[in-house]
């Protein structure tokens, strides 16, 4: 979908991208990295908004050179900050955006209503944008990027500032995009959980370089060597039974959970029989999975 070869981008003395090479497959891609790591620079180059100092970038099979404006026909962009006009209605604004992308009035109108329907916007689409809630504004911002039917949608922090319900809805919509309209998604975010829920692949950029590019499902399938359990009453009995078996065992106990090292599947058996003989409730038992947080912190620090 996006291929970058030895891309260098300098702003004066500052090097934003330093010999950056990546091959991003189709699908839903999460792009992570600290502030100033080169994330947004890379995205702006891919959108054809700025030029790289050197190197080669291919987006959707088209090589970007000086005349990179045409590529934006195939790309939708949802910026991070609030950037929609207040004095227009949602419908008016989307039709205008459709026309600016090159749709004729009829198609733009039809498409606008289709997308807003898909995003579950009701009659409020005929109201002025200034009356919209944060979640609705975010939807309009998303819709303007979709109006011309792009092959690739770039989303910059789409869930920032949304409350849990609106955030879940936004993630659902993004998930649906790929399935319903075959749109590829590039998602830049600081909320690692979003990447876990939505993305197929994740790339992490730091210091202007690509750190990792991995399949998300494979990544989070990885398990650590710790079993986390939660037990009810008689937890003291439970622990002492566990310790009887092997008192060198490094058991970590807090008010919230107990953590036991995983040696082999026998560990589970021991836990179950300890709970059975202590007659305590075994609320939860599982090997802790690697999370995006672990991976991110490992890569970035």
């Amino acid at each position: 979908m996006i291929e970058a070869k030895n891309v260098i981008k300098k702003y004066g003395q500052v090097t934003a991208l330093d010999d950056f090479t990546v091959n991003i497959p189709k699908g839903k891609i999460g792009i992570l990295g600290p502030n100033g790591a080169g994330k947004s620079t890379f995205v702006k180059i891919a959108l054809g908004l700025i030029e790289s100092t050197s190197g080669e970038v291919t987006v959707l099979g088209e090589k970007l050179d000086k005349n990179s404006i045409a590529i934006r026909r195939k790309i939708g962009y949802m910026p991070e900050h609030d950037c929609i006009p207040n004095k227009m209605t949602g419908v008016e604004f989307l039709i205008e955006m459709g026309q600016v992308s090159g749709l004729d009035y009829q198609t733009a109108t039809q498409r606008t209503h289709e997308i807003l329907g898909h995003l579950r916007m009701g009659e409020e689409k005929y109201r002025l944008i200034e009356e919209y809630s944060g979640g609705m504004r975010q939807k309009i911002k998303l819709a303007q990027g979709l109006v011309h039917g792009p092959e690739l949608m770039f989303l910059d922090e789409p869930t920032s500032g949304l409350d849990p319900k609106a955030r879940l809805e936004m993630l659902d919509t993004i998930n649906g995009l790929a399935e319903i309209s075959n749109t590829n998604v590039l998602l830049s975010t600081h909320i690692l959980q979003d990447v876990e829920t939505v993305c197929d692949y994740v790339i992490i950029i730091n210091n202007g370089k690509l750190q990792i590019k991995e399949n998300v499902k494979e990544l989070v399938k990885r398990q650590t060597d710790t079993i986390q359990i939660r037990v009810g009453e008689n937890s003291d009995d439970f622990i002492s039974i566990l310790k009887q078996n092997d008192n060198k065992r490094n058991i970590e106990i807090t008010e919230r959970w107990i953590r036991i090292p995983y040696e082999n599947d026998e560990s589970f058996k021991e836990i179950i029989s300890a709970a059975a003989s202590a007659k305590c409730q075994l609320y939860e038992m599982e090997r802790i999975a690697v999370t995006m947080d672990n991976i991110y912190l490992e890569v970035v620090n």
């Binding site: 950037c83 026309q99 289709e114």
Partner: protein, 305 residues
């Protein structure tokens, strides 16, 4: 009975044909023009009305027969079309034109900058310059309707006063093309100034006030300085008039009609001459730097996001 089951896949299969860049820009411009003329913009519509009424009253009803140019004295010649763009007390509509340009242009870029929707426009398949052109078109078309059209009306009324004499047309063919050229010149100049103010001061109402205040304020200050320097017999005094946009545009406008430029200071007209190359060069430089400034302001927005 045979029935085919179908599922609409409109949303999925949306592969529209997109217009060319030129058409997108033109479309944006025309929609912008329509918006300027919408009933919400009472000030704009009011000023357009005033300019037409003014033209009707002072140029069509009370207009003299001596068309196009009159000799005020042996040296000084004045033309109807030059008067049209001149000061109010001599029958000119300048103050209305500047006001209209200031009000109508002020929101064009300012609003996009203010609500930051400019980022969304610039992520479309158009370049920064395309965007600028699309934003200049509305104000340019608006200015054309209050410059070219009234002047054509005056021309036609003179033609009819001449008894629809075909010789009038052939005698005045240069007048006709010059008045169109002059109208386009004023329109494009005021449009670019308006766009510059709109981009530099990203508050709609403030940009309008700044436009009007700057253009008239500088003109006033420059005239006072000119008078002082003239009193002190400083030879370069003439050049100071080039600093005022109003005076500068008039100088070029007079040149279009190949008439000597004069300023009226305390009732006595004084002819001033400049080298043609100087004023054309200066004009090109000035408006090139305006466009560059606007382009720079917008590019800054993009970098800092």
């Amino acid at each position: 009975m045979k029935s085919d089951a179908k599922i609409a896949e409109k949303f999925k299969d949306f592969t529209p044909t997109l217009d060319s860049r030129a058409n997108i820009v033109l479309g944006m411009g025309l929609r912008g023009f329509e918006k300027l003329l919408s009933l919400k913009n009472k000030g704009t519509l009011f000023l357009i009305g005033i300019i037409y009424l003014w033209t009707f009253a002072f140029y069509l009803l009370m207009g003299e027969d001596s068309y196009p140019c009159t000799e005020v004295s042996e040296e000084i010649t004045t033309c109807t079309h030059l008067n049209f763009y001149g000061d109010l007390q001599y029958g000119g509509t300048r103050i209305f034109l500047v006001m209209l340009a200031a009000i109508a242009s002020s929101g064009l870029i300012a609003n996009d900058l203010n609500d930051k929707s400019i980022h969304l426009y610039l992520s479309r398949p158009i370049s920064r310059i395309d965007y600028l052109i699309a934003r200049i078109i509305p104000i340019f078309l608006l200015m054309i309707t209050v410059t070219v059209l009234p002047n054509l009306a005056i021309f036609i009324s003179q033609f009819s006063k001449s008894g629809l004499d075909l010789n009038f047309l052939s005698d005045n063919k240069w007048t006709l093309s010059n008045l169109i050229l002059q109208a386009i010149f004023y329109s494009i100049s005021y449009s670019i100034i308006g766009i510059t103010f709109s981009a530099a001061i990203n508050r709609e109402s403030l940009a309008a006030v700044a436009f009007f205040g700057t253009v008239y304020g500088i003109s006033l200050i420059v005239e006072i300085f000119y008078e002082m320097m003239n009193g002190m017999d400083i030879e370069q005094a003439d050049y100071i008039l080039l600093l005022s946009i109003i005076h500068f545009l008039d100088i070029i406008s007079y040149n279009i009609f190949n008439v000597d430029y004069f300023v009226t200071i305390f009732g006595s007209p004084v002819i001033i001459e400049y080298s043609f190359a100087l004023i054309v060069g200066l004009y090109a430089l000035l408006f090139f730097s305006f466009i560059t400034l606007v382009n720079y302001i917008i590019s800054q927005m993009e970098v800092t996001k």
